[in-house]
């Protein structure tokens, strides 16, 4: 107790004992657990512990004094911190460790232990002082934080992988499509080109990516129509769809291309980049042309013998003497009807071919619309005694259009009405004038068309499924009608309820749609 004598602990107490008690109270007031072990006794027993140590450990002083500190670890002996402590004890050094300890009731607490040796004059270690703090809460927070961090990292890894996956997926789509795709920066430099582009235009990625579009392949992409698309049309019409460009490339020859261009408007790293999809339709056009030629020749060749047959039949009909029997006459008339049907089928085939190649030709003249409709109905009435056609209303309009094509439309609507209303005998035709249009409606009370089929009846080769067997046909009549009416700037539509009949209506602009309703 030299320190006492030296006056360092000469507190305000009357005596040494007073001062000692004061110090003891101070130790007991500490929130850190404090113990002293005696290094001169075997197994370093605890010779002192303060109140806080009792509180932290849950043991009473009587259960603590005389024990080695290791009782605090219970069975949890294999801790790296224990080795550290025992090394320090052996070498007489200070140490600070975090170690798992257990309260008397078995609860785990994290103990931050600061241990320092006490040496005598000769340098021999006499005691160790251990200061302990319960850092369970801090430890738990640290652990939570670490777990959170691990979780975040895992999620980030997952998201990164997802992004990488979807990027790889997107790029595999881009590489797989059978269409050439270019991505351009706002100055029309190529940022990327897909495999199909490289293959179609016989270039490598090195020759393409990073180069200006117009300079590609020794300026062979310096195409006036393409410049017009990118510089004039796209800035005000985004996206541009089905823009046709024809160009003679030095190495690969003449190409007919259909372009779609899209400028990215979304704010962000891709803004103002341009996606350019190029479809090579050279071959397709050639095939269409050949098919067109074929149909044209085929119909010509079919019509030639048909013309002969029709001519002879009409000659025969005129030659029949008045004495000839009715059976002979009606038989001949029937032949004439079926020849006419064959002729119509051939004409329809040719019409489809023309419409598809965009070659529908209108021979427009001005004609009296009501008279045309009336005559068409009269002719149909003669050849269709099974049904009665009732015409109501009038338009009193002069129409500019292709009269024979419009007759074809009305004939088609009338014969459809007859064909699909075998049980009902009445067909109504209504003419009216609506605004600057004439309107024709043909109503039957036959089978009707379901809502889903109504959308499709104007498609090419579409046949309403359940009537296919009972009512044969090619399924092109309404498609042709629709195209004819569209070519006259009018509209054809259907209103129908299944089982109740159908009304097909079309409108045509008076004056051919060129006079703005005057």
């Amino acid at each position: 107790m030299n320190t006492f004598k030296n006056g360092k602990f000469n507190l305000s107490g009357e005596s040494l004992t007073d001062n000692f008690e004061l110090l003891t109270k101070a130790l007991d007031a500490s929130i850190s657990g404090i113990i002293i072990t005696d290094n001169n006794q075997p197994d370093n027993p605890i010779v002192y512990c303060n109140k806080a140590f009792e509180l932290i450990s849950g043991y009473q002083r009587s259960e603590i004094i005389g024990h080695n500190c290791r009782f605090l670890q219970k069975d949890d002996r294999a801790q790296a911190a224990r080795q550290e402590i025992s090394d320090c004890v052996k070498n007489g050094m200070e140490c600070r460790v975090e170690i798992r300890n257990y309260r008397k009731n078995g609860d785990l607490f994290w103990n931050e232990l600061y241990m320092s040796p006490v040496k005598d004059k000769s340098g021999q270690i006499t005691h160790f002082i251990g200061v302990q703090n319960d850092i369970t809460t801090r430890k738990k927070a640290e652990q939570d934080l670490r777990q959170q961090k691990d979780l975040m990292e895992k999620k980030i890894d997952e998201r990164t992988a997802e992004l990488r996956d979807s990027e790889a997926f997107l790029s595999s789509i881009i590489q797989t499509v059978r269409e050439s795709l270019l991505v351009l920066d706002p100055q029309f430099n190529v940022l990327s080109a897909n495999d199909h582009f490289l293959k179609t235009f016989k270039v490598t990625a090195e020759e393409t990516v990073g180069k200006h579009l117009y300079e590609l392949g020794n300026h062979q992409w310096d195409i006036p129509q393409l410049k017009e698309l990118l510089m004039k049309i796209l800035p005000t019409n985004n996206p541009v769809v089905d823009f046709e460009v024809e160009h003679d490339f030095p190495h690969i020859g003449r190409k007919l291309m259909l372009l779609n261009a899209y400028r990215v408007e979304l704010e962000g790293q891709y803004k103002d980049q341009i996606l350019l999809a190029i479809e090579d339709i050279t071959d397709r056009r050639e095939i269409e042309r050949r098919k067109d030629d074929f149909l044209s020749i085929a119909s010509h060749e079919l019509k030639t013998p048909l013309t002969t047959i029709k001519g002879y039949i009409q000659a025969l009909q005129r030659m029949v003497s008045t004495e000839a029997g009715d059976r002979f006459r009606t038989t001949l008339d029937k032949v004439a009807v079926y020849v006419e049907r064959l002729n119509n089928l051939i004409a329809e085939l040719l019409d489809v071919s023309r419409i598809q190649s965009g070659n529908i030709e209108l021979h427009k003249t001005f004609f009296n619309f009501d008279a045309m409709v009336g005559e068409t109905i009269d002719a149909m009435q003669i050849s269709t005694p099974s049904h009665h056609f009732a015409l109501k209303g009038s338009t009193k309009a002069l129409i500019e259009g292709d009269e024979s094509h419009l007759i074809q439309v009305i004939n088609n609507l009338l014969s459809n009405a007859v064909k699909y209303s075998p049980e009902s005998k009445e067909i109504f035709i209504h003419l009216s004038r609506v605004s600057e249009y004439v309107k024709v409606s043909v109503t039957d009370y036959g089978l009707g068309i379901s809502p889903e089929d109504q959308k499709k009846v104007f498609e090419r080769f579409f046949r309403v499924g359940d009537v296919q067997e009972r009512f044969p046909g090619m399924g092109i009549g309404l498609y042709i009608c629709d195209q004819i009416i569209k070519n006259h700037k009018g509209t054809l539509w259907v209103e129908s309820n299944k089982g109740e009949g159908s009304t097909f209506s079309f409108t045509l602009p008076i004056g051919g749609g060129n006079t703005n309703g005057n």
Binding site: S296, S299, H300, K303, T304, P305, L306, T307, T308, K310, G311, Y312, Q314, A315, Q317, R318, V339, N343, L350, R354, E361, H363
Partner: protein
Amino acid sequence: MEIKKILVCDDDEGILDMLALILEETGHEILVERNSLNVLSIIEAQSPDLILLDLWMPVISGDQLLKSIRSNPRMHNLPVIVISASRDGRKIAEHAGASAYIAKPFDYQELIDTVETCLGSYAK
């Protein structure tokens, strides 16, 4: 009725026979020719009053022949009815200078009427 001379040229024998049969009903004289190459010389030799001409014919097509007729001062006024099954027949015929056009297959009465109209408006 004054009997006129009508020359019919079509490479298809069936059509030719049938046209001859129908046109004979009109009482006019009908000349038929399958080979379009011979038409110009027949016109020179026979002086027909009307020609019925097919379009798609081998060696010389109907429109080529029609153009030759129209550019020949000795026959440029001759009425020529083009009769064809070709999809662009009407346009081609008008362009070549046809007096009238009939699409195949035609209607009996349409043929007779067109023939009489063309004959009536033509004076040698």
